[in-house]
């Protein structure tokens, strides 16, 4: 009973802007540190430890950035959707800000996925773009993210903008699986066999460890950027309020 | 915008909301109408409400009679027919005129007519005297008196003319910072 009570009190405290800001600024460096360490391990393994692919030799290594970015673009959306649901149901302002902070970061990972896909595709297919299922889905996802960011930015009242954008986020949650399914369908419809960016080779088990390290690294980076963006957005919105002066004063002291 | 307001309005009473521009009179009325939800607290109201704001909610491309007909179908009919309502507000013969051809004062009168054609016990009027001359103001007073005598309730905001209706209204003053209830 008392553990639950502490949780509830903690949850309520997080809703207060000064506490939220303090928590974010305190946690962010740890996430960055974690990112640097896991990314270093992952990249080292990806570049030096794992053997070259028998078909694509070394150019396939970009998959260790491409695939985690793709996964994070989707995972980031899932996190944003959960935050959006909480924000709409309980009308907690800090949750609204946190949800909106996910969008630019998720969009960035979508862009990284698309860019690395293009870089990967050039040696393989000779063109900078190929209409395979994953890349096309990512492109549509990018537009969904941009739409959310654009909608949030279009409102002068930031709270109203965040809530309206959260509705869009939830609509997207229903839509994204449908979009992915339809794009898969579309690729099988229009070419005999699926074009797969990775080609026909299957994943060698030795490729798993660096992939896992990079996936963790990407998650840590996502979280670091997200909470930093959220705290900055909060400071920006409340810049005229007392608590901002107090907290900045604390930091300078 | 404001907090700590607690009031109760009974049938047959008039609530007068006063205050300078920007003090939240329109917001309060919209909240009473149910358009805006209060962040904290609740509004209990069993009756149907009519809200007449700065923008009348009437369609410029339709005639006066068509506009009133829509209000009747949308909000429920009263015993007053559109032509009778137009006559009551001084717009007799305006039935077929398009709402876009009306002056500001005539538009305001058409808005008042829309109150008459549908059966709603509670009237929420935001600056009903705006754009009206003395004769128009007297018309508003007369309509309010009729409505109150019929058992209806009225809440209105104003910062110019005061209603001249005989009975003493409940006054609510909104200041720039906090409201005071009399």
């Amino acid at each position: 009973m008392s553990a639950f009570h502490t949780l509830k009190v903690g949850f309520h405290r997080l809703g207060s802007p000064p506490n939220f800001y303090r928590l974010c600024t305190r946690l962010a460096p740890w996430f960055w540190a974690g990112f640097v360490i896991t990314a270093a391990i992952g990249l080292y393994q990806a570049l030096y430890v794992v053997p070259p692919d028998y078909q694509q030799s070394d150019s396939y290594r970009i998959l260790f950035i491409h695939v985690p970015s793709a996964w994070q673009a989707l995972a980031g959306y899932a996190i944003m959707a959960v935050l959006a649901a909480i924000a709409l149901i309980w009308r907690i302002r800090t949750t609204e800000i946190l949800a909106m902070a996910c969008a630019p970061v998720g969009a960035a990972f979508t862009l990284i996925c698309l860019a690395t896909g293009a870089i990967w595709g050039k040696p393989m297919w000779g063109t900078w773009w190929v209409w395979d299922a994953r890349l096309t889905s990512m492109l549509v996802l990018l537009f969904i993210y941009l739409g959310i960011m654009g909608l949030y930015a279009a409102f002068e009242d930031r709270r109203k903008g965040a809530r309206v954008a959260c509705i869009l986020v939830l609509v997207g949650v229903v839509n994204i699986p449908i979009i992915q399914f339809s794009v898969e369908w579309w690729t099988t419809l229009h070419q005999g066999s699926t074009i797969n960016l990775f080609g026909e080779s299957t994943m060698d088990p030795s490729m798993m460890p660096p992939l896992i390290w990079m996936t963790i690294a990407v998650k840590l980076m996502f979280t670091a950027v997200m909470i930093q963006r959220a705290s900055l957005d909060l400071i920006d919105q409340d810049r005229r309020k007392r608590w901002v002066e107090d907290v900045i004063g604390e930091q300078n002291a | 915008m404001f907090d700590d307001i607690s009031l109760r309005l009974d049938a047959g009473r008039l609530l007068l909301i006063l205050g300078p521009n920007g003090s939240g009179k329109t917001t309060l009325l919209r909240c009473l109408a149910g358009v805006i939800r209060p962040i904290k607290g609740e509004l209990t109201c069993a009756e149907r409400r009519a809200f007449l704001g700065h923008r009348t909610g009437l369609k410029a491309a339709l005639s006066c009679r068509e506009n009133l007909g829509f209000i009747q179908s949308f909000h429920g009919r009263s015993r007053v027919r559109p032509d009778q309502a137009l006559a009551r507000v001084g717009l007799a013969g305006f039935g077929l005129r398009l709402a876009s051809t009306l002056s500001a004062g005539q538009t305001r009168r058409l808005g008042l007519a829309s109150l008459l054609v549908s059966e709603r016990r509670i009237w929420l009027l935001d600056e009903p005297y705006a754009s009206l001359d003395d004769e128009g103001g007297a018309l508003v007073d007369a309509l309010i008196v009729d409505h109150l005598e019929g058992g209806g309730t009225v809440a209105l905001s104003t910062h110019q003319r005061m209603p001249d209706i005989g009975a003493e209204p409940i006054r609510l003053h909104l200041c720039a910072n906090r409201p005071e209830n009399h």
Partner: protein
């Protein structure tokens, strides 16, 4: 009980007729695209017939985007939208009626004129029936999704551009399944699965979207 719904529907249609020319804009736009395409890619019947399903659908999509700006904004600006919350019917029903009247004004003319567009682009005759069915299932989804985008952006200034960005991802599945249906029908294969999926999406959209639209409208009005 249904009085307010009929009232809203008949007012919407009456206003659309009064505004005459404006209401025909989507149809004019559809034909502009259908005429520009052969001018752009050449009049060869093989090429045109191959791209006909996609082009007709893209034209339908773009032209239905045109009428979206005016879906809620006039009511928002003249104060009649907030009256929806004073009525005694839930706003959900009023939203459905408004989107239905939008479909009657923009979607239905597209469906009626589709055979002409199909003829101009040499669509395979076997596929015409499927085209009509796909439009009948898909244009209501366009109205629903477009209505949602219009409701979300109601009180912003950057209306149309943002609207298009919002609609486009949501409409990808409709486009894929609708054009897929028409393409396979042109090859003589049964388009049942495609049309079935399209119908399922319509049912899903009909149940969920008006709820989202009502919430979005309320948030924008507050």
């Amino acid at each position: 009980m249904f009085g307010p719904l009929w009232a809203l529907l008949s007012q919407d249609l009456r206003l659309a007729i009064r505004h005459g020319g404006e209401s025909l804009m989507p149809l004019m736009f559809l034909f502009s695209v259908i005429i520009l395409v052969p001018l752009g890619v050449g009049p060869g019947p093989n090429l045109l017939s191959a791209i006909a399903p996609g082009m007709i659908w893209v034209a339908a999509l773009l032209s239905s985007l045109l009428a979206l700006e005016r879906l809620f904004r006039p009511d928002f600006e003249d104060g009649s939208l907030e009256q929806w919350w004073l009525g005694h019917l839930p706003v959900y029903g009023l939203v459905v009626v408004r989107l239905f009247s939008h479909w009657l004004i923009t979607g239905l003319p597209i469906i009626l004129f589709a055979p002409i567009a199909a003829e101009m682009l040499f669509l395979h005759p076997d596929a015409l029936g499927t085209l009509m069915i796909s439009l009948m299932l898909g244009t209501p989804i366009l109205s629903l999704v477009g209505g949602l985008a219009a409701a979300l952006t109601l009180s912003t200034n950057r209306g149309s551009v943002l609207l298009s960005i919002l609609v486009f991802p949501l409409i990808v599945p409709v486009l894929v399944f609708a054009t897929g249906a028409v393409s396979v029908a042109a090859e003589g294969i049964s388009p049942q699965t495609h049309l079935g999926l399209l119908a399922a999406m319509l049912v899903l959209a009909l149940t969920l979207v008006p709820l989202a639209v009502a919430s979005a409208l309320r948030l924008n009005i507050e």
